[in-house]
């Protein structure tokens, strides 16, 4: 968190710095199946965030003692490229923040991936942040969900994540870096759109009960757009498959 004393004005004439409305997402672009050597992959551009997600598996769990004979295990690695941001924030390697994000991402996916279908195996998720501009954990989860579907892993749902927060008493969706650093509170959420289950909720700062309700409503509303883009990205890859599935079993 940056120093609150030199907080810049985040709302000018009731508008955000980048001119967005309070409930407006940054431009989002998703592409699936971008990496040849991974079983599943996705590339995502969300505002100035650029994120690459790759999935391997299910493969034999290594080392053997971590394998669970009844279900699959998920391993997740979130990492920021050394050139992804400025200063200490983009220090690459397994730092406290990267380990925390890896853990919450893993736990979000453990709720939707059908782990019992692949006993004794391991599913690897790699999230690589190439350029960061706030809300990378949410963007990482959104990209990893597409990569998991692209890898053909059994899942209950295609999840998405987005952040909401509070600036000067207004509830605002999808923070960018500067809003993230100086806002009053910030809440990334991961949601399963099928039944709106909350899979990740982290909160910096405070919300009243009504504010939280409003923020969740905004997240779920924005989720419809994100889910559609995720599905479009996957459909794009297999659009040709629909034309031809005649020969072969």
């Amino acid at each position: 968190m940056a120093n609150k004393a030199n907080k810049p004005q985040l709302l000018v004439n009731g508008k955000r710095l980048d001119g967005r409305a309070f409930n407006e997402l940054r431009p989002l672009k998703i592409e699936a199946a971008v990496l040849k050597n991974a079983d599943g992959s996705a590339y995502l551009e969300w505002g100035n965030n650029k994120i690459l997600a790759a999935v391997y598996g299910p493969i034999e769990a290594m080392p053997k003692h971590v394998a669970d004979p009844a279900k699959a295990i998920i391993k997740c690695r979130y990492s920021m490229a050394p050139f992804s941001s400025v200063g200490e924030h983009s220090r690459s390697g397994p730092n406290r923040r990267a380990i925390e994000i890896s853990k919450v991402t893993k736990e979000a996916f453990e709720n939707v991936v059908m782990l019992n279908d692949f006993p004794g195996s391991e599913i690897d998720i790699f999230i690589e942040v190439l350029q960061s501009d706030g809300g990378t954990r949410a963007a990482g989860i959104t990209a990893a969900a597409v990569a998991l579907a692209n890898a053909g892993i059994h899942m209950k749902d295609l999840i998405y994540a987005v952040s909401a927060g509070k600036i000067d008493g207004n509830i605002v969706l999808d923070f960018n870096m500067i809003e993230d650093n100086y806002s009053d509170s910030d809440m990334p959420m991961a949601i399963s759109p099928r039944n709106n289950d909350v899979l990740l909720l982290q909160m910096d700062g405070h919300f009243t009960r009504e504010e939280l309700k409003k923020a969740m409503g905004m997240v779920i509303e924005a989720g419809k757009t994100i889910t559609k883009l995720q599905k479009d990205a996957l459909n794009e890859v297999y659009k040709k498959a629909e034309v031809k599935y005649e020969e072969g079993a």
């Binding site: 079983d39 599943g40 598996g57 299910p58 493969i59 034999e60 769990a61 004979p69 699959a72 939707v112 059908m114 279908d117 692949f118 006993p119 004794g120 195996s121 391991e122 579907a149 692209n150 890898a151 053909g152 892993i153 059994h154 899942m155 209950k156 749902d157 295609l158 399963s192 759109p193 099928r194 995720q230 599905k231 996957l234 459909n235 297999y238 659009k239 040709k240 498959a241 629909e242 034309v243 031809k244 599935y245 005649e246 020969e247 072969g248 079993a249």
Partner: protein, 218 residues
Amino acid sequence: MRDILIPGDMVASEPLRMENTYVENGKTFAKVLGMYEREKKTLVPLEGVWIPKIGDIVVGIITGTKNTVYEVDLNFFGRSILIGSKYERQSYKNGDVVEAIVKDVEDRKTVILSGPKILYGGTVLNIKPIKVPRVIGKNNTMIGQIADLTGCNMIVGKNGTVWLKGEGVGVATEAIRQIEAEAHISGLTERIKRMLEEKCGPRRPRTQETEGAEEKFE
């Protein structure tokens, strides 16, 4: 009518018994990215790993031996073992390529093989297991065509391991790679046929062996 379904898409508003789906609150949802055929009521996955089923023909490599129990590498997430008979003269050593049938699957991850047959010589190729039906083709058309035109013996395991032997191995490998890459594009059999004829000339007479290799998949 075919649709691409994405995990979480509703297949039907009543509970159905269908592969690659799950039922929740009396409704059926897709659990894998796949092609849904309304008439046949099937969801065919577009990506994924091999999930062993009893009766699958597989090709594997022996990686460990312990008396008459052999460990076989089938290139999937579980492990597979081959239990040899005490009375059997045949023994296997590390590195042998075997063709076998899945006799049993324990805990959905341990595969018990039976009916092994050593495949001498040749080369082994790994492909995406999901593309195996396309490499075999409807009524073995594709595999028969490759075997005919290249004069190469081939056995395609359900686990995605292909064994090839014969003079036309190079061309056959190329054909298989092309099938893998273009599996979803229309007119595949024709294109592969044209490509093979260009490289190997016209149809060759069938040998006894190629016919045998083909019949296994009927």
